[in-house]
Symmetry: C2
Amino acid sequence: MAESAPRRPATIHEVASLAGVSHTTVSRYLQDKDSLKPKTRVKVEFAVKTLDYRPNLVARSMRTRHTNRLAIVLASGMHFPGRLLAAASQTAHEAGYQVEIVSVEGGSAARSARVDELARSGQVEGILAFSPLALKGKKTNRVPIVESSTYDDNLHGLAELADASPVREIIEHLASLGHRTFLHVSGDIENFASARNRKSVYLETIERLGLRSAGAIDCDWSAQRGYDAILALPDDTEVTAVVAANDVVAMGVVRGALARGWKVPDDLSVFGWDDEEIGRFATPSLSTVAVDREAQGRVAIQRLLAEIRGEPAPTPPEQKINRLIFRESTAPAPRQRG
Amino acid sequence: MAESAPRRPATIHEVASLAGVSHTTVSRYLQDKDSLKPKTRVKVEFAVKTLDYRPNLVARSMRTRHTNRLAIVLASGMHFPGRLLAAASQTAHEAGYQVEIVSVEGGSAARSARVDELARSGQVEGILAFSPLALKGKKTNRVPIVESSTYDDNLHGLAELADASPVREIIEHLASLGHRTFLHVSGDIENFASARNRKSVYLETIERLGLRSAGAIDCDWSAQRGYDAILALPDDTEVTAVVAANDVVAMGVVRGALARGWKVPDDLSVFGWDDEEIGRFATPSLSTVAVDREAQGRVAIQRLLAEIRGEPAPTPPEQKINRLIFRESTAPAPRQRG
DNA sequence: GAATAAAAAGTGATCGATCCACTTCTGAGC
DNA sequence: GCTCAGAAGTGGATCGATCACTTTTTATTC
């Protein structure tokens, strides 16, 4: 039991002295094992194993000015895009980076402050923000910052705005089923570019196709707001189709309709977004938009990596990220509401 | 526009020379502004502002051997406990720590390897794992590691196992409604202590109350598995109540029952877990267990912080973290299945 | 076997902070 | 005016790696 474990981790010098070589040789061993003579390599290898040596990454970072860490900044809240983060994380990992996920309480100002702090602390080499920031003015950033909502400013048609394009398809589809009056229950407009983009595409499409909209109600991705939005409709509303910000909101909308005695989809069609698992098993199952979260995460990290390396932005992926899925919650428009 | 921003961030030496003091004085200013003579303080303050100086945290960490960072290790997958993480994050933040969330692909071996690497890299001062690890043997850890599943080994009745105690209440409640034969659809037994604990409390309670169980089916928190579990039941099954691992699984169970022509809750009662928002708005709405995720996150971090500081474990919170919520998916047992 | 080139290993500086051991300043007390 | 204690400030060492150079060893060629 008296394992007499060293109180503090071994340093490169201790390894060197045990192996009978200089610390530089050990360092070389760490970066490129092949540049050592086999005999030397074996000695170093043995010393490393014996002392159970692991390089101190903080010290290494200090010298190389290279932390191999990226940060992903999220607005804190219930919205935690697990699959997207996992994919982002893995892509970064394959490129030799660790990902730190930072969730920040508060609005875009708080977020920006935290990002600024992070950018200048020297702890990360790049920052990816999925929620809008407010640091346009400050050009003092020390590290590349990729803000997912700015994609479309630079690359028309890519990412976010394109991400909202299924709204157009949804409306066209519903219109083809005879629906004429729509309602949009949007996401958190303030903190999510995606919510903003979906809303603007909604309004634009309604306008373009000459359809009617009973409004675009700002909510916060919550089912409760979806529920409330339906209950707030006047009794003589002509709305027969709802485009919800996501599946959770759609669930609230469906339940709201039920509470009013409307049947879904007989009286009201509801479209969700995200293809969450629960939507497939809900009753009625939700028509929705399948989002390739993995691709989104991957692409975002690749963009960030390109910026870090000073390379041009990677070619936008050609295949579509979103796909409409039709389930039980949508149907042809009713002749007239009973 | 020729703002001639310094290519590299200012160092403490540059600040010192601009302020006309030594670098040590600037350092002192950074840690305790009051230990400076007012006149000196003003000079330093001015220089810091002028150069827009921010201490390099990597360099600081190197010297102080103090990174002020914690890591939370998660099994990668769809299971991303947002609220818990936000609470943990905030608690850590208040104590002066940053939290890094690391999601690791693979099973407990991969996780353990990553944790070990993290522990010895000198980059974090403590690690919190919500999924079981496999490093019991290795006692070479350099930093405290709190594994949420080990809570109960050390503090009987706290956290995890206690966390599963509502299973007992659920079964007692259902039994009082006349249910006699149960089915448990568990979570990811391999990677989640919580899933394991719920299962063992389920089996134990069934046994203790002299009830019947049609089995405890291992699944992976997915609705699909819940659905499959129901479809796999024989036609003459006597199961009238299902204890699902969580709300998502419960949704699958409900839909599975529907597919078999069973009504919920008339023919089958279903209990979920987590009080997810969708459960309240689903049809039927789900009976479930409200979990105080915020408290869980807070407590876990406090435990970790105590261990880092070498203090005794904080007193376990007295109030209960879990609360049963009864909704539409549970009802008295049917006389006999049609 | 000597000359030379190339490969391998070593020396000491360096990254940007903090901390320790001093030195210098300031002001109170006699 | 002098002493002396405490406050304020300084210089240099240090944390543990990497890197630019230099030196030593090995391999190659004539």
